[in-house]
């Protein structure tokens, strides 16, 4: 509705009573009944009919809504950095449909630490009569100052930090299948990638402290064929945000080094369970994860591929990649408070450790932290998570664009 039209309507409204009143004494327009008065008022309105014109705000919101519905929303924010610990991440993606359901997404991100990621993904979400989902990804990433604090849990200190960098081109395919369309999922994937690991411009660099003899994989550039398979049950309402349900799964990895030096196998066990309390007023959310690696023949697991803890999705009160070793165990508990439909607050505690022997994967001498988090969410996703976590190594602020688990 234009402003001039509005003013016309406004004055018409004001004038209408005067028109009727002034005409009353003698004019033929003087209503003789309530019915006639109403008819006159309606006839008066009939002289100035116009279509409804939405306000600017309404037009703007409707345009966005229609953009979603029409599949025309192409540009989107992208906050996935090249590697955890890169700091605040900015990025964007351009997604477009190549068929009614399938998309191609071209995206990239950059962090304050100079981490870079560029990749393209083809996603087919409705294969096999809505039972399968295929993702094909090709990309390149660079992490410029990844922390390494030594091997193990107790022998290391945050003051032992050295830094390394790597670049990695990669192509991958991942197929997930829900045979019954929900709950039970099996997946398989393959990735071909080349790691180019080097020292870092951030002091101290890893080669200042370690040598290839003291740190397995230092200065190595393995080319991996990574094959993985997984199986699990997932009855959460949505992986990105849920207040009930659980997810239990096992993933088996085989990393085959083309040069035969750094191949290994890894098994990940993951369990998530959410317990709503008092009608979702609170949710007790529990997460347990164990990662174990196995040698492939006489090959070694390079230090940068070891299971690790620390950072915004594991031990949140510690630096990213703070602990590394052959195996890891992580336990997380959260007391999530429903504040409203868009915001949850959580009090959380994390505990975990890395070990060199599987028999040490127990609950002794766990590193732990605790904290408070704010999650801005929708019914299906958590686009912003801000957390304050405290450990014996200090205070860490976490910004993330996804749920912790």
């Amino acid at each position: 509705m234009t402003r001039s039209y509005l003013h016309t309507r406004w004055w018409l409204g004001l004038a209408l009573s005067g028109v009727v009143a002034a005409a009353l004494p003698a004019s033929a327009q003087t209503p003789q009944s309530r019915d006639e008065a109403l008819r006159q008022a309606k006839a008066e309105k009939a002289k100035a009919l116009a279509p409804y014109v939405p306000s600017k705000g309404e037009q703007w919101v409707d345009r966005i809504e229609n953009t979603f519905l029409d599949g025309d929303l192409r540009w989107h924010p992208y906050f996935q950095s090249a590697l955890a610990g890169g700091g605040f991440t900015l990025g964007a993606g351009y997604r477009f449909f190549v068929s009614p359901y399938n998309t191609v997404d071209l995206r990239g991100s950059y962090t304050l630490s100079g981490y870079k990621r560029l990749e393209a993904e083809f996603l087919a979400p409705r294969l096999f009569d809505r039972r399968g989902r295929l993702s094909l990804v090709g990309g390149w990433r660079e992490a410029t100052q990844v922390g390494f604090f030594g091997i193990g849990t107790d022998p290391t200190s945050k003051d032992d930090r050295v830094n390394y960098s790597f670049t990695q081109p990669y192509v991958s395919a991942q197929l997930d299948v829900w045979p019954t369309r929900r709950y039970f999922v099996v997946g398989g994937g393959i990735e071909y990638s080349k790691w180019d690991q080097e020292g870092s411009s951030r002091e101290p660099s890893v080669e200042d402290v370690y040598t290839p003899a003291t740190l397995q994989g230092l200065d190595s550039d393995p080319t991996y064929l990574h094959v993985q398979g997984s199986a699990g049950f997932d009855w959460r309402t949505a992986p990105g945000y849920t207040r009930r349900g659980g997810a239990y799964g096992v993933t088996v990895h085989d990393y085959s080094d083309r040069d035969g030096d750094f191949g290994f196998r890894q098994v990940d066990y993951d369990a998530v369970q959410h317990f709503p309390i008092l009608r979702d007023a609170w949710v007790l959310s529990l997460h347990a994860r164990a990662e174990t690696t196995y040698d492939s023949g006489d090959q070694q697991v390079p230090f940068f591929m070891l299971p690790a803890l620390g950072g915004g999705s594991s031990l949140r009160g510690f630096s990213s990649w703070r602990f590394r070793d052959r195996h890891s165990i992580l336990l997380q508990a959260e007391w999530r408070v429903l504040v409203n439909r868009f915001l949850d607050v959580a009090v959380f505690a994390d505990a975990g450790k890395v070990v060199s022997r599987t028999k040490d994967l127990n609950f002794d001498r766990l590193k732990n932290d605790y904290g408070l988090g704010f999650r801005f969410h929708g019914p299906l996703a958590t686009p912003l998570r801000i957390e304050l976590a405290h450990s014996n190594e200090g205070l860490v602020i976490v910004f993330s664009s996804k749920a912790p688990f």
Binding site: P25, R39, L49
Partner: protein, 559 residues
């Protein structure tokens, strides 16, 4: 533009055209045809065009703007001179205005026969709403909007639609004809021209897989069939939803801003009774039909299925009916107490039936009941609107409620009785909350002998003790100047007061009576109900009733 000028414009228009008010300074207060019983649709609305109300904008605007707006305190503008809502293209007086038989209630809006479900031809995907369903032609070729129950709640959503559409029909709203039926997937064929909208925005051929996807989201009977609610295609041209504020600028007959229509304000009470939490504009519908050679827009409450304890995809969320989707006060409380500042919905006790969902009457408080989002009409409800609405709710007898609930065919043991019991409990809470809140004088009558009789709605339903006394202030009234001249004041302990001597006797003379009640328990009853009688033959005709003044500084209807 903002919405404010639009509202101002509409309000100014309304000021000139309120159904009860004098149309000008020199016009009489009461015309010979007052009180009117029908608002005429005298102009041709054929040129009205379809319009959309964006779901996101409507949600956001109502949550973050409307909810923060103070009510204007303006009296409803579409009431006649005796404070009643005349019939219109929006509303038809039914319950409380005339006797409704059990058969009438069971039929509700239904005028024809139900679908022939021996064969369905799916012609379109479901156009709106979140319930699983589709649009199909039955074996006789008639078009129906078919919706199903969520798997978690068999026979719930369909029953809710059937029951609620009859309740809202009886309350006076235009309703879609809806039948309970069954769909046998083996007897469904997909029309070759049927299409579905895809995520990329394209419309492509509707496939069997699309159909199966609908069924996966629906409750399946043991025999492989599906319970369904089939809504008949409305006659006329669909114009889209109506808004709960302003008027349609392309409808010449729409001269009262919607937020000042009493029947739309009253949805706050009717919604509370039935727990109709989804009051968004998207659940309404305007259609353009031809009546007496003119285009007339009829206004429907199209989707009243999100009632009682059930929604399109399962039971209501726990907080539905208790809180808006977003509220600042509860947000702060839960944030700063880490959730230990409990809200009533967290401790309300439910007897859960799959076919009813979360619906109860003990924790229910009609004064604090809330839909998902408020509407401007909801915010504008005054105590006299609520009184009017509560009278209509109370007009549903227990037997009438049983008759309507039976149409839902709730087969789960105990469910039907439970729903009846809760509706009765919530009905009585509404009556108890709203009838004594204002001076509850009703049905005033003055006979030729000067005997003034009236009822007291709050006392009648035993929600209040009779007042210590009633007082009537009598005046003569000049219908052209609006001047009144006091005659006398008379008092009685009963709802019957003899007029003083000196009432005018000339044909067409008017008398004004201010009736108040002295009640220590209800000080608000001291606010007189102002009534006007016109001399007609040997008796008097009620031509005016004003329960509360035109403008209130603040609405008195809610906590």
């Amino acid at each position: 533009m903002t919405r404010l000028p639009f509202i101002r414009s509409a309000a100014a228009l309304v000021a000139a055209t309120t159904l009860a008010a004098a149309v000008g300074a020199q016009a009489p207060r009461f015309f010979d045809d007052d009180p009117i019983s029908r608002e005429p649709d005298s102009e041709d609305a054929s040129n009205a065009q379809p319009e959309k109300v964006g779901l996101t904008y409507d949600l956001g605007y109502n949550l973050f703007v409307t909810a923060g707006n103070a009510a204007s305190g303006t009296r409803a503008k579409n009431v006649n001179t005796i404070d009643e809502v005349p019939d219109s293209s929006w509303f038809t007086n039914r319950v409380g205005s005339r006797t409704l038989s059990a058969d009438e209630l069971a039929k509700g809006p239904i005028t024809g026969s139900g679908p022939d479900n021996s064969r369905w031809t799916l012609i379109r995907e479901k156009a709106s709403g979140f319930a699983p369903g589709f649009t199909a032609k039955d074996a006789s070729g008639e078009t129906w909007f078919v919706s199903f129950d969520p798997p978690s709640n068999p026979k719930a959503a369909t029953a809710a639609i059937a029951i609620a559409s009859r309740i809202f029909w009886a309350l006076g709203y235009n309703q879609v004809e809806t039948f309970l039926t069954q769909v046998d997937p083996t007897r469904v064929e997909i029309a070759p021209e049927a299409t579905a909208r895809r995520p990329n925005g394209d419309r492509t051929t509707y496939t069997r897989s699309d159909f199966e996807q609908v069924l996966e989201r629906s409750a399946r009977n043991a025999g492989g069939t599906y319970e369904a609610a089939a809504a008949r295609l409305l006659p006329g041209k669909v114009l889209g939803p109506f808004r709960y504020e302003g008027t349609r600028p392309d409808d010449p007959n729409d001269i009262v801003a919607h937020q000042h229509r009493r029947e739309l304000r009253a949805l706050r009470v009717f919604g509370a009774w039935t727990n109709l939490t989804d009051l968004k504009a998207g659940n309404t519908l305007d259609t353009l039909v031809t009546e007496n050679g003119k285009g007339v827009i009829k206004h429907y409450l199209q989707d009243v299925g999100s009632t009682f304890g059930i929604g399109a995809n399962g039971p209501h969320d726990w907080d539905e009916g208790f809180e808006y989707f977003y509220q600042g006060d509860t947000t702060k409380k839960r944030l700063f107490t880490l959730g230990f500042g409990l809200s009533p919905w967290q401790t309300a006790k439910y007897q859960e039936f799959d076919s009813i969902g979360r619906f109860e009457g003990d924790a229910f408080d009609p004064l604090t009941w809330k839909p998902h989002t408020p509407t401007t009409a909801y915010m504008e409800m005054r105590a006299d609107d609520a009184f009017w609405a509560a009278q209509r709710v109370m007009a549903f007898s227990d037997d009438m409620i049983r008759a309507i609930v039976a149409t839902g065919r709730l087969s789960e043991p105990g469910a039907e009785q439970y729903l009846v019991d809760v509706l009765i409990k919530r009905r009585d809470k509404i009556g108890r909350a709203y009838l004594p809140a204002v001076n509850p004088i009703v049905d005033p009558a003055l006979d030729g002998a000067g005997q003034l009789t009236f009822g007291n709605a709050a006392v009648q339903y035993r929600f209040a003790e009779a007042p210590e006394s009633y007082t009537a202030k009598w005046s003569t009234f000049d219908n052209h100047t609006g001047a009144s001249t006091a005659i006398a004041e008379t008092t009685s302990r009963e709802a019957r007061i003899q007029a003083p001597s000196g009432l005018p006797t000339a044909a067409g003379a008017f008398v004004r009576v201010e009736i108040s009640a002295a009640s220590a328990a209800h000080p608000s009853w001291a606010q007189p109900v102002v009534v006007h009688f016109k001399r007609a033959g040997a008796g008097w005709k009620l031509v005016g009733l004003e329960r509360l003044p035109e403008a209130l500084s603040a609405p008195a209807a809610t906590k």
